[in-house]
Every structure is written in structure tokens, then in C-alpha cells.
Point group: C2
Chain length 653, copies 2
């Protein structure tokens, strides 16, 4: 059984508890539910490999391509074709569909969707309930019920999770994580085919961000190293203008890069809104698919949709008001109290105690806040998972924004204490981010080892084991089972661990941008931090955690809006900082300096919002490709389509 874990093709595993071994080692018993499950899986065309590991029993699942293809057709999976349109997948017309960059037919996301469809699609098609057994427990498998779901409810199936592909994992580890020659280069296409579009776009963003960070880092370093003599007073304002323009350009170019990536991966994101459509809307006129005057007719339906829309907007606004009020009325006083107390406390020990108390309190606060946010978005009729996720991101970010920056604002504005501000910035960036990276990577490792110890310890005490003392975790599957999964700290189903990674990135971006003028050197720390972040995150995904469940989204989504918001905030806060810096007397007077700063601020705001007119978000070659394919499709099939429509029309008459 050795080397089995390294076999490719086994991409999903089902974990069941170890059944009691009957006399003579005979596992198979009439009506044994695990045996039944294996038979049903094999009937569905899947390849099942069953083996008993130390902590549990594992059913490794693989599937021939044809089985996956049929599942995709059943799922009505939309797939890009060579004419640039997304069409429903059909197995017998497989040559019409665009292949992945690595040559395979399905992307990892599509494969996983098909696996899930196959696994959970096994239902009781007989006319009667089937009685199953597991460890002397009776299980009633009802008609038209999903077998896997029933077994999950009964506790027979403990977990279903995707497996690492050992060959590709090692390849990636070598090419990506252990490639120390180029700090920011990453094999994005391979990450895409192994982890899916969402994770690949995160790393692609992180890499590009880090690469671009070198410019402000160099400028920041220069402001500290050189003395500009009489022009010294111009250094900070020009740094301000530079970093804002830098950020605006960076995001515009990131959007271009993102659409280029999507084009390369064959993801047609502009059409994806069709997928996100609520299914009810599709059912509106299920009975008569084609009607004359579909635009102007059916005023009742129009009214109901409009009412729904406004009700949805109202609820969204209400929820946001709740969140904003919650943050302002509960979190703001708390944070200000902490910052104030910290500032007036003179004894170092008391300060440490205060900070400890604060950190514990903040943990609870963010956890409660996250739960409230998750609860609130359930009452919004967000269209599709993407929109819910975005709504959650905004709410939780509001919380973290207040928590991370209010103390800094306090030092900057109320006390005008730039010294403390700088100290806090360094402390936050170096200490907390380095610590976070350590914790991020060590927690999975510790938790894995603890679980391993528990499993082995239990095994040793378990006398039924024939192996006696020499227990080892011999296979990869067992090891992966013990590893933690890639999940978000706010614990919602909507997001995976990327939420935390993006949050970290956004908070860092806000910190360095909003207080750039107070401490230009901060960009150097951020650059160093991000270089380690790339490696650490890669290591975490490849070695520390289970393979993450792939997700469909392929842009940085709501985070993009948050970064934009942070840029606008940065324009305002830096203006404020500059005013504070040049306002030596403490009396706020509009001298030429203040007027100039306000002018710069307004010009930057215009640049921020005007730039998108000049640099389009979609590179021209992507656009040309897309449109060419659309018009080709239209021209090629125009006549056929028209004939079918007229036929349907005549049938109608």
C-alpha cells in the first residue's frame, strides 16, 4: 500500500471511521454502509481505493475523464468554446471546447465541481428505503436521498476533502517556494492549474504589488539618506504626489494584468454575471420560453422585480447603517480609550498589561463583529455567492479599519506626536507582521503535530491493532487528513483562507499609504515583509495545509474597491499630516503652504478619478480577441439561429 498516496488521479478522499473488525478480518458484511458506499461509487463510474490508515479509514476517489465529462454535462457546466462563447458542455462535442493552458480539458475548479456532483449525486433510485448498518448502528437510507449526505448526517462519513497531487505539489514546491533566485516571480499558470483561479490571482497580485513596491521603497529610502538642502521642504509633498500616482497607476495596471490573465486562462468573466443570476429569475417564464414583446410586456413581473430591488437596496443600506453605527458607537470609544490610556500611562509594565488586555478584548470584538456581519448578510438578497462575499468583505474590513488605524490617527491628529506615530508604525509593521507570519505558519504545524500525536497515542493504547508498538503514519492521505484546512478566521462558508491573506495585505497597504508622509521608510519594511509573505504563503499552501477547495472567482473582487478606498483615504490623511508637519505653531492658519496642500489634494483626487479615462482596464488585444470571437460566432451561426427562432415562432402560432 506504500506509494499509494503519491498516485495521481486520486483527487478527492472520503474519510470514514474505522469499522469494528469482525472475526477473521472479514470487513464486508451484508448491509455494511461503507461497503455499500464503495459499491455505489464504483457503479457511478468512479475508481475507489479503500484502505485503513491509523486515524481512520480512507476511500480515495479517482475518475476517468469520460465520467467527469458526463457529470459536467449533467451539471450543465458552461465552458468556453473556440468561438469565444460559453456553451453547455457536451461530452460528444468535446473538441469544440478550449483546453486549459496545461492541456487538460477541465480546470481544477471544474474537476472538483464534477467530483462533488458525482459524489453527492448518488441517490436511492429504488422504490423502497434501504436499511444500512455501521458498527451495529442502523441507518435508514430513504428514497431519492443523497447517500453521502445521509452518511454525513449519521456520522459515517467524517469528511470529504480534496487531495494534494504529490507529483505536482513537489514540482511547485521546487519551482515556486524554494526558488530563491527571483523574489517576485511566480509560476502563475501552474498555480492556476493546481489551486484554481482565485488563489492564482491572489499570488499574481501579491507578486505584482511587491515588484511595484520597490519604487516607493527606493524613494522612501532616498528621502531618509540624502539631505536635499534648501529643497528639503519639497521632499515630503513630492513623495506624497509620487506615492498616490504610483498607487493609482498600480491598480489600473493590475486590472489590465488581471484581464490578460483571465484571457490566458480562458475565463470569460464578463459573461459570468449570467451564472450569478438567481435561479428564480430563470424560472419566471419556464412554460413559454419565447414571447413577443418580452421587454415591454408583463408589467406585473416588472413591478415585482422593482419592488424586490428597492427592498434589497433598503436592507443593504440598513445593514450598512447598523455596521457603521456599531463601529462608531462601540468600537471607536473603546479604541480611543485604549489609545488615550496608553498615552497617559507612564509605567512600562502597566502599558504592557494594558496592551495585553486590549489584544484579548479585540479578539473577542472582531469575532463578534464577524459573526454579526455574517448574520446580517443573510438578510440581504445578494445575487449569487460573489456578491454576498463582497458584502461580507466590506463589513469586516470596516471593523478592522477602525481597529487598525484609529490609534494611529489619534497619535497623528490629536497629539500631533509624529514620534509616537513612527514608533507605532514600525512596531505594527515589523513586530506584528513578522509575528503574524510566524503564527500563520506555526499554528498549522503545531496543530498537525498535536493531531498526529493524538492519533498515534490512541493507536498505541488500542490493543486491537495488530501492529503493536511500531505505529507510523505511512501514507500522505493520513498526513493530509491531520492537517488543518485553509479557512478564514471569521469562520464563514463564503470565504476561505484567502480572506485573511487579503485582509493582511489591505491593512498593510492602508498603513503604508495613509501614513506615508509621516514615515517614508515604511515602504522598505513593507517590501521586505511582502517578499517573505510570498514564500510563507506558498509554503503554507503547499506544505502546511490541505489542498484548498477551489473557488470560481478570478479577480480580487471586493478587495479592489477597498484598495481604491484606501487610496482616497491616503490622499486626505497625507494632506492632514503635511498640514500638521508644516503647521509648527499649532495654530491652523491657511498660509500659502496650507492652500498649496489643499490644492495638491484636490488635483490628486481628480487624477485618481480621471485616470481610468486614459488607461482602459482591459488591454486592447484582449478586447480585440473577445469581440472578434463574439462577432465570429454571431456571423457563423446567425442563419441557423434565425431559422430555429422562426420555427419556434411558427410553433407558437
Amino acid at each position: 500500500m506504500n506509494g499509494m498516496g503519491e498516485e495521481t488521479g486520486f483527487e478527492v478522499v472520503i474519510v470514514v471511521p474505522k469499522g469494528k473488525r469482525k472475526e477473521g478480518g472479514d470487513l464486508a458484511e451484508k448491509g455494511d454502509s461503507v461497503e455499500f458506499l464503495v459499491r455505489e461509487l464504483e457503479k457511478a463510474g468512479l475508481i475507489v481505493e479503500r484502505f485503513r490508515g491509523v486515524p481512520a479509514e480512507f476511500l480515495k476517489i479517482a475518475a476517468p475523464l469520460i465520467v467527469l465529462g458526463q457529470a459536467a454535462a449533467e451539471l450543465e457546466l458552461k465552458k468556453l468554446t473556440y468561438i469565444g462563447m460559453e456553451l453547455q458542455f457536451e461530452w460528444d462535442m468535446v473538441t469544440a471546447f478550449v483546453r486549459q493552458p496545461d492541456g487538460s480539458l477541465f480546470s481544477w475548479y471544474e474537476r472538483y465541481s464534477c467530483f462533488r456532483h458525482l459524489l453527492y449525486g448518488i441517490v436511492n433510485k429504488t422504490d423502497s428505503n434501504i436499511a444500512l448498518k455501521f458498527n451495529d448502528k442502523d441507518i435508514k437510507y430513504e428514497k431519492n436521498e443523497s447517500l453521502l449526505k445521509r452518511l454525513e448526517i449519521e456520522g459515517v462519513v467524517k469528511q470529504v476533502f480534496p487531495l494534494h497531487d504529490e507529483v505536482k505539489r513537489k514540482q511547485l514546491l521546487r519551482k515556486w517556494d524554494l526558488n530563491w533566485l527571483d523574489f517576485t516571480w511566480q509560476p502563475v499558470d501552474e498555480i492556476y492549474s493546481y489551486f484554481g483561479s482565485k488563489i492564482a490571482s491572489y499570488f499574481s497580485f501579491l507578486g505584482m504589488y511587491t515588484r511595484w513596491l520597490f519604487f516607493p521603497a527606493a524613494f522612501g529610502l532616498a528621502t531618509q539618506l540624502f539631505d536635499f538642502g534648501r529643497m528639503q521642504f519639497l521632499v515630503l509633498p513630492s513623495f506624497f504626489v509620487f506615492i498616490i500616482s504610483w498607487a493609482v497607476f498600480f491598480f489600473q495596471f493590475w486590472k489590465r494584468k488581471n484581464s490578460a490573465l483571465l484571457a490566458r486562462w480562458g475565463i470569460n468573466y464578463s459573461l459570468n454575471e449570467c451564472k450569478a443570476m438567481p435561479s428564480e429569475a430563470n424560472e419566471f417564464n419556464y412554460t413559454d420560453p419565447i414571447k413577443k414583446k418580452f421587454y415591454s410586456s408583463r408589467p406585473a413581473e416588472k413591478t415585482s422585480i422593482q419592488a424586490d430591488e428597492w427592498w434589497g437596496i433598503f436592507r443593504k443600506v440598513r445593514n450598512n447603517v447598523i455596521v457603521v453605527l456599531g463601529i462608531i458607537c462601540l468600537q471607536l470609544p473603546f479604541e480611543l480609550t485604549y489609545a488615550h490610556l496608553y498615552n497617559i500611562t507612564q509605567i512600562e509594565v502597566l502599558r504592557y498589561l494594558l496592551t495585553a488586555a486590549y489584544l484579548i478584548a479585540i479578539q473577542y470584538y472582531t469575532r463578534i463583529g464577524g459573526k454579526v456581519a455574517v448574520a446580517l448578510i443573510k438578510y440581504e438578497n445578494n445575487q449569487g455567492e460573489d456578491s454576498s462575499a463582497a458584502s461580507l468583505v466590506y463589513k469586516v474590513f470596516g471593523l478592522y479599519f477602525m481597529q487598525s488605524y484609529i490609534g494611529l490617527f489619534y497619535h497623528a491628529v490629536v497629539y500631533r506626536n509624529l514620534g509616537t506615530l513612527r514608533k507605532v508604525l514600525i512596531q505594527r509593521l515589523i513586530v506584528s507582521q513578522v509575528l503574524e507570519n510566524l503564527i500563520e505558519n506555526s499554528i498549522p504545524y503545531v496543530s498537525y503535530n498535536y493531531k498526529k500525536y493524538l492519533a498515534l497515542h490512541k493507536k498505541k493504547n488500542d490493543n486491537s491493532s495488530p501492529m503493536g508498538k511500531n505505529v507510523r503514519l505511512s501514507t500522505r492521505v493520513e498526513k493530509e487528513f491531520l492537517k488543518p484546512s485553509y479557512s478564514a478566521s471569521i469562520g464563514a462558508d463564503l470565504e476561505d483562507g484567502l480572506f485573511d491573506d487579503y485582509l493582511e495585505l489591505a491593512l498593510q497597504f492602508g498603513m503604508i499609504m495613509m501614513f506615508a508622509c509621516a514615515f517614508p521608510l515604511v515602504f522598505c519594511f513593507a517590501t521586505l515583509n511582502n517578499i517573505t509573505e510570498i514564500r510563507a504563503d506558498a509554503l503554507k499552501l503547499l506544505a502546511m495545509l490541505r489542498r484548498p477547495v477551489p473557488r470560481a472567482s478570478a479577480t480580487i473582487g471586493a478587495w479592489s474597491n477597498i484598495f481604491q478606498f484606501l487610496i482616497v483615504m491616503a490622499i486626505c490623511t497625507n494632506s492632514l499630516l503635511l498640514i500638521c508637519l508644516y503647521d509648527q505653531e499649532g495654530k491652523w492658519r491657511i498660509e500659502p503652504g496650507l492652500a498649496a496642500i489643499l490644492l495638491i489634494e484636490h488635483i490628486l483626487l481628480f487624477v485618481k478619478f480621471g485616470l481610468s479615462h486614459f488607461v482602459p482596464e482591459e488591454p486592447a488585444w484582449v478586447r480585440v480577441n473577445r469581440l472578434r470571437n463574439v462577432s465570429q460566432a454571431r456571423d457563423l451561426y446567425s442563419k441557423q439561429l434565425l431559422r430555429s427562432i422562426t420555427k419556434l415562432e411558427h410553433k407558437d402560432d
Copy 2:
């Protein structure tokens, strides 16, 4: 021949000079070019009615629907079908296409395009050149040449223009222009079917704008009528907040209304970008329409498109820099000089002289500016006519912006002379706009009468006329021939008279928004002005001018961005005005007041850019309809499409 002008169906007219009448009144001569043209037109399936009017000879053209349909198929016209996709028109599958709201198959824009295609599509298909004659002048009609173009060059065809439809025109006049019961209501659908989408969307915008203007007008009136006692100092800031929010909401709702209108008219604007594609891009792979890996392959093509794109952006930026520098270096000093001279001149007569000189100079300046702008955009590779028009709009608006507002800024900021500012505002709004309306409507009338006089005068002197002294313009066609066409003052082919109307509206909007806090009553004047504007513009279109050539665009296009820009400007200028108002001593000190105003300004800027997250631009019911139809199409024809693609693939192998 009476009553002929009122016949429907004759929608286009060709004007030719009156040929010399041969002895015996025999017009038809072998090789006579007009006779030849009529025969060719009739061969093309058109119905031609020829008659001699007083100023010229007219060929009125009508066409049976089937001839138009065939022309549409030849033009490869894209038309909305019942599955929500736009497909190439085919005459024999006519039932598949969505009809217009008024029941006709083609919209006015489509009909006119077909007419033009039919008229200019008459070419010499014989193997030899044909010799034609007109008034003893020899015309060589070469092979494969368009007859109408040749005749236009030779001066035989003087004009081709669309004709008014007398029945519908009178109906519209009654229902729209002479309907004084509801000031802002307009029969938008009928305007659409008579004038096309561009003019209909202008009037729909103007109506909605006027209706929304009632709110700030009421508030503005209230600020002048009532005394708020101790709260008086809060009136202007709250008016400021109110009008900015009002404007932001107005434009968001206008976008929604616009997409609802497009949906009602069956215009699928999101797909229109395919039409705007440069034709070269389509020809890139004309020889092999389907290629594997079309996304990632052909790096050479990708590079060339990218180079083109950056070169295009560079030229655009360069042109804009030229325009901005031209405005700042040439126009700004000129305007400031005028404002300054006007301010220091004490003698009333000199002021009038100064203003007269200024007005004459400004006429030349804007005309030159317009020509420069038209010349500049020729060097930009704008994609399609829409984009060129937008680029022109921005450039010309920059000119007018400086011209209209710099004097006002001068009074407001440099002299802090709110009295003069108010006087100038009233003067501009009432005097100039009323005058403009008068001129706008009287110039066509005067020009029509002058032309009529000329024609009749010439006729009287012309002894060859058998009618002698009693010459009258008996038909509508003759009258329309003498009317001016609806053209832009900057005289470009890219824009029609709507350019001037939008410009007037945008300048008014900027005036009332940017100086709202200086004089809240200004909204009342704008409201009154717009009510008359609706009627005046309608009268102009229906009675004073020729029927305008229909245009494809169906949104307010680039003007929308200009209005948005004016809102942002309004936030800044009103903040400045408020600071001036509350800064009594003339020394700019940040007291709580100034800080509060800056705070309001920033909050408003955030509101401006954040609102679009809450109110989507496309109403949900439009979106649901659109997506439903797209997904229906996809699901219905998915299999057929796939089969065709795989067939093509196999042919490839």
C-alpha cells in the same frame, strides 16, 4: 400635384437643379443623367416621384418594405431577435426579429441607413463607362462607381436629405409642442420612432432634468423667502449638501431611466461595442476563422495591438495636453483681462463697448478652438464614431468651460464680490439664455424666409417660367428644401445640432451647480428656462428645421461624464464660496467653520463616488430580462452551435 407632400412613405428626397426644358416640354433625352438616375432608382426597387418645384427639381423616394429588408440584409444589419441576441437581418426570417414599439419592423435609423445604402449602392455594373449628359455637360460614369456620388461631384445632385412625415409631424406637434397642460411630460416613444434614439434620449433627459429641478428650485426659493432666525448660518451649508446629493441621485436615476428606455426600444447597448470595433481587427484572421489556442497564440499580433494601444493613448494624452495648454495659455489670460478690465471700468458705455468687443473675439476664438479640436481628433485612433464624438465633446467643452466660468470665478475668488457674481449669474442665465433661445429659433426662421425670398425672386425674374407672376411654394418638399438643417455650430460631421443643445444644458448645469451657494434662487430661473427650452427645442425640430438625419447613439454619452465632472467641481467651488462667505475678515483662518466646510466637502466627495455601489445603473428588471434572454439563447442553441464548431474543427484537421 397638390397634397403630394403629405403622402407618407416618401422619406428621402434627392434635389437636382432644374434642367433646361427642351422644346415641346420634352424633358427626357437620351443619356440625360437625371432621367438615368430615376430609371436606376426604379430598377433598384425604389418608388420615385419626380416633380419640378420652384427652386429646384425634386425626386422623392419611397421604398416597399421588402426592398428595405433586402438592403438591410445586404448591409448585414444587426437586429434584436426574440431571444435577446442581435443577429444579422434576413428578410425570409423576418418573424424572428423584435418589432419597434409602434409596430413597424425597422426603426427610423435603420430605415434611413437602408435608404442610404440603396441610393449610394447603385453602381455601374456594366463593363464599360457610360456617358451621361446634364444641361449639355458631359459626365463620365465609370465602372463600379456609385452613380449618386458621381452626380454629387458633378453638381447634378445638389442634396439628399430625409423628409418630414407630414401626418406624424402634425400629430407630434399637437401632442408634444402644443400640449401645455403638463410642462415636462413628453411623448418619448413617439419622438423615438420619429426622430430616432439620440434625439429622443435628449428630450427624455431634458424632461427628467426639468422635473427634478423643481426640488432645488423650491428649496432655493425658500432660502430667500424665509428667515431662519438663529439657524440662518446653517441654511447655505445645508443647501450645499442638498444640491450635491440631489445631483448625484439625479444622475444615478437618469442612468437607470436610460437603460429602461433602451430596453423598451429594443436597443441592446451593451453589445454595441462589437459594432464600434475597427474593421481591421475583424480581418486579422479572415483566412482561418477558427484556430486553436486563439488566446495565447499569435504573440506578434498581440504585440502589434499593444503597441497600437499605447501609441493611441500617447496621442490622446498629447492632444489633451495641447488643448489644456492652449486653454490655459491663450484663453485664460484673455478671459482674465476682460474680467479685470470690466471690473475697473467705471463708465457704463465703455463697459458695453468692452463686452461687445469681447463677444466678437470670443466668437472667433471658439470657432478656431472647435476647428483645432476637430483637426486634433483626426490624429487619434478612436474606435468608432462614438469615441471620436466623445473626444470632440471633451475638447470643445474645455473651451466653453473656461469661457463661461472663469469670469465668475474671478468675481467670486479674487474680489470676493458676491454682489457682482450674483448680477453676472442673473444676467447670464436670464438674458443670455433667453436671447439664445430666441436666436436659436429665429435664425432658422429668418434664414428660411430669406432663402424663400431669393428663390421666388429668382423665379419671378426667370422668364422661362410659364406661371408668370403668381409663384408660390406649393409643396412641403420645396419648403423643407429651403429650411436649414439641424447642424452643430462647430460644424463637424461627427455631431448634429444636439451638440449645441447639450452644450447649452451643460453650461447651465455648471452655472447653477458651481455657484449654488452664492445665489440659491438661480435654480428657479433654470427651471423656468428649461420649461421654455423643451417647447422651443421641440418647435425648432418640428417646424423650423429639416428632419434631422437619425443617429445611432442612444445615451447622452460623453455629456454624462461632463455632468459628473461638473458635480465634482461644484463640490469644490461651493466649499470655496462658503469659506469666502463666512470668512468676514478677509484673513483665511481655519476656524471650526472652515474645518467643518472642508469636512463636508470630503464627505460629499465620498458620497459622490460611493453611491454607485448602492443604486445600480441598470434596473433589476432590465437586467433580469437581458440575462434571461441571453441564457435562453445559449441553452436553446447550445447543441446546434457545438455541432457546427466540431464540424469546423474536423474540416480543419
